[in-house]
Amino acid sequence: MDARAASQDTEIDCRRAAWMVAAQAGDRTAYETLLRDCIPFIKRVARGQGIRPDFMDDVVQETLLTVHQARQTYDPNRSFTAWLRTIAQRRAIDGLRRAHRTGTREVYAPLAYENHSDPSGDPEEAAFQRDHTEVRDSAIGKLSSRQREAVEHLALQSQSLAQAATVTGRSTGSLRVDWHRALKTLRAQFGGKD
């Protein structure tokens, strides 16, 4: 029975080694077949190292990425399965360390998370901002097209005079004149206040 199992393991190892050699030469089909074939083995090794099911996917994916990056280091004269086992064990140990770090620094508290207020979601502040934007846009909309153009580029888009002149095809002097006229009109609209 043991001899048969050993022979089966050798056969699997030879098959994986052949796929890896083909992958080193750039055979995508062999490579994808190999990686899919390795996943159950990696999970078995990770379980053996004590990896919890919720960290299993991380270990599998990190092992596959390592296989990908280290594929030039595989020597066909050596066992592929042993090569993969060492990588999977190492990545499982990294996973255990990460899980330990997460466990000591983070607390799993879904209710606290759900009940935590979001300061950016203040409805009063959002309504104020909305009103403010509407008033501003309405006042700008009443300006002449040339003044509106100057305000949009110089104030709303924060462009320099030179940039605005390039974009609009107007002279900086003309833009400056319209900008000052627009400010005067807007001050008048808001009752003489800035």
Partner: protein, 224 residues
């Protein structure tokens, strides 16, 4: 067992990223290449130094210097061999112990050699003014050797990049300490040994900080 969707997506992404690769040469062959370059440096130094005087000084009984020189040379070879092995992902961390016996021989023989300064009246320890030159030589020779070694190690994929860099640093520092014998016509002394040890520690630290980072960046988990 059926792979999850995420695993399958990753497999397809890695398949799409697949390019043919040149298989890495064996660690033994890479070691020989590094030693060949080290040999060329040794040859260049031999041409500008008095090799006969060096050999006479090293074999002069009962001096322990020849044993220290053999120890440092063996440390360089074994540490470089261990570093090349550690640059492969499937090698065990115990490879790092390979240079330990030679390292102990080197340190032990150098330490014993120090006693000669007190025991033998004809001993000629190094004047303190020359310690600075020793330090500069070991660090100056080690750095290009380290750079070369890190570039060669980076072709592999170490799962223990910092340990690999430390052992690589030991290889370069001990190689430089061996080469120092060509231009170092002094017997061992406590100050001499302390300076050599200090230089070796500097080289290992530099390798650990910079070499380790280079090797860590190589082993960062991102698909190329």
């Amino acid at each position: 067992m059926i792979p999850s969707d995420l695993d399958d997506q990753l497999v397809r992404a890695l398949g799409a990223d697949l390019t043919p690769v040149h298989r890495l040469a064996s660690p033994g062959l890479r070691l020989l290449m590094w030693l060949a370059i080290l040999g060329a440096v040794a040859l260049a130094l031999a041409m500008v130094s008095d090799v006969g005087a060096m050999i006479r000084r090293l074999v002069a009984a009962p001096d322990m210097m020849w044993l220290a020189a053999i120890g440092s040379m063996l440390t360089a070879v074994l540490a470089a061999a261990a570093a090349f092995e550690l640059s492969l992902p499937d090698r065990k961390a115990t490879w790092a112990l390979l240079p330990l016996p030679a390292f102990l021989l080197w340190i032990g023989a150098s330490g014993m050699g120090c006693l000669r300064a007190w025991a033998l009246p004809e001993a000629y320890p190094m004047p303190p003014v020359h310690t600075e030159a020793c330090l500069i030589f070991i660090v100056g020779v080690s750095l290009p050797l380290s750079l070369l070694l890190i570039v060669m190690l980076r072709r592999g994929f170490s799962l223990r990049p910092n340990l690999t860099a430390i052992i690589g640093g030991l290889a370069c520092a001990s190689a430089a300490a061996t080469l120092l014998n060509f231009i170092h016509p002094y017997d061992a002394a406590a100050t001499d040994l302390a300076v050599h040890a200090f230089a070796v520690v500097i080289v290992i630290l530099v390798n650990t900080i910079f070499g380790g980072r280079i090797l860590v960046s190589k082993s960062a988990l991102t698909a190329r």
